[in-house]
């Protein structure tokens, strides 16, 4: 569980980036953190991970104030996956790369092996355990980043623009793994994204920031109901949401849209 209470933040002496934000993310939620560029969503997630500390207000992780903690102290509770996987690849094979976190935490060898294997399996990388990480595809590197965070058994995963620069198939692949983690293992997912379709399809809750202010916190389907004007927050309704709403459907993918529009015999519309 992550909770922000009246959090304010500004970099150095600059303009405030986060203004009096209060929100609570419960265990097992799938949350999309949305907003235009510079709206403060990455900064808010950095506050959750103790990468920066609030000017005022408090952040709690599992009920503990993280004011005096470092990211390393939280790594077994919250996993953070950065946008660029290349900037953290350290080892010469995938297994060792994922094992870095558990080894830092000085876990026994058997536990390291067990957690690494579990993380690799969770992200579909078990067959690439001996591969050189830099030769992996971009999508695989992204999954490696998630596996590296998962190896510490965190209860929450924060993913910063995890689907950026990936083709549709790889995006779906990644999101399927994350959905499985959320549903089967109960891991809280906080997804920072610009991809409205992904947010609409997978997240059950949306938090929208606009110039550092929290302007929406509620069900994703209420945000993307196809009617709400999101332009003032620098967002837009996905085309599918607008079309579905106009036609009285509730499709989350093109396939679903077609099925609902042209139901086969025996299907319910």
């Amino acid at each position: 569980m992550i909770e922000a209470k009246a959090v304010n933040f500004a970099y150095n002496r600059g303009q405030p980036v986060i203004n009096d934000v209060t929100c609570k993310i419960e265990d097992g939620e799938f949350v999309a953190l949305l907003g235009h560029n510079g709206s403060g969503k990455t900064t808010l997630s950095r506050l959750f991970m103790a990468l920066v500390h609030p000017r005022s207000g408090q952040v709690f992780v599992d009920g503990d104030n993280i004011e005096n903690l470092e990211p390393a102290d939280l790594a077994h509770q919250v996993g953070y996956v950065f946008q660029n996987p290349d900037l953290q690849i350290l080892e010469d094979n995938v297994f060792s790369e994922v094992a870095y976190g558990p080894i830092c935490k000085k876990l026994p060898k058997d536990a390291v092996k067990e957690q690494v294997i579990a993380a690799l399996e969770a992200m579909g990388l078990e067959n690439l355990a001996d591969a050189y990480p830099r030769t992996l595809s971009f999508g695989q590197k992204r999954r490696l980043g998630v596996a590296a965070a998962l190896a510490l058994n965190p209860r929450t995963l924060i993913l910063d623009e995890i689907t950026n620069g990936q083709d549709e198939q790889e995006k779906d692949n990644m999101m399927a793994y994350l959905e499985k983690l959320n549903k089967e293992k109960g891991i809280t997912i906080i997804l920072i994204t610009h991809d409205m379709n992904i947010a609409r399809k997978y997240a059950r809750r949306a938090i929208v920031l606009n110039n550092g202010d929290l302007v929406f916190d509620g069900r994703t389907q209420d945000l993307y109901n196809g009617e709400r004007d999101l332009n003032e927050w620098g967002l837009s309704q996905p085309v599918l949401a607008v079309l579905s709403a106009a036609m009285g459907l509730s499709a989350y993918s093109v396939e679903e849209f077609c099925q609902q529009l042209f139901p086969k015999e025996g299907d319910e519309r």
């Binding site: 990468l51 390393a72 790594a75 950065f82 290349d86 900037l87 953290q88």
Partner: protein, 222 residues
């Protein structure tokens, strides 16, 4: 008054000579002038930090000389000379674009343009490198890296930050080299900069430089 990069380079080279040629009080005066000039050109946090770091480094140099048996005055003068020389370079970097310096090196000093380009590229990499190192540090911290323990432990654990950075820098330079070659770098037929012509101000500054540089002669004979 704007002087060209060529004149500025000559002045900086002259200052490095003056610290040995001119009397110590004059060298101290040059330092005061340099600092005033530097703060006039740029008085942001980075400049203040650079001056602060330089002061600490100079203090350490003086201390080191004292430890190895130099007298206090010799150590102090040594520190002052280093401070003046380095501040001259800081003034140059604050006042002039790297591209202008590179152009002056190629045009006036006949440095092969590949080397001048290497200089500008290396300096352009610095902010990128600093940004990458901050991100890498954050990324590894989120995986359990912590800069705690004794010096040796810290140095060893810092490899987790250095290694990805080096790999990233190599990959970046490789990409840059490839893209430069694809753009025809090395053909040496393309000129996209106006030649830097010396103005009246440049001649004035160069005259002062010449006069001061000949101090040992006119101090002896006049």
């Amino acid at each position: 008054m704007k002087i060209t990069a060529f004149t500025q380079l000559i002045t900086v080279l002259a200052v490095t000579a003056w610290v040995f040629l001119l009397p110590v009080p004059v060298v101290a005066l040059i330092l005061v002038l340099e600092l005033a000039l530097l703060l006039y050109i740029k008085h942001d946090r980075l400049t203040m930090a650079a001056i602060g770091a330089l002061t600490v480094f100079t203090g350490m140099m003086i201390l080191l000389q004292l430890v190895f048996g130099s007298s206090f005055s010799v150590s102090l003068i040594g520190g002052l000379r280093m401070f003046v020389m380095t501040t001259a370079f800081l003034c140059l970097l604050a006042a002039t674009k790297i591209q202008d310096i590179a152009q002056a090196l190629v045009e006036k000093f006949h440095l092969p343009f590949e080397y001048a380009f290497m200089l500008t590229t290396a300096l352009r990499f610095v902010p990128d490198f600093l940004a990458d190192s901050a991100t890498t540090l954050d990324a590894q911290s989120c995986r359990g890296y912590s800069n705690r323990g004794n010096v040796f432990k810290r140095l060893y654990s810092y490899l987790a930050v250095v290694k990805p950075l080096v790999m990233r820098a190599v990959a970046k330079s490789d990409t840059l080299a490839l893209s430069m070659e694809l753009k025809g770098f090395g053909a040496n037929t393309y000129q996209n900069m106006q030649p830097q012509k010396l103005q009246v101000a440049d001649y004035g500054v160069l005259l002062v430089v010449i006069i001061l540089s000949f101090y040992p002669f006119w101090a002896k004979y006049l």
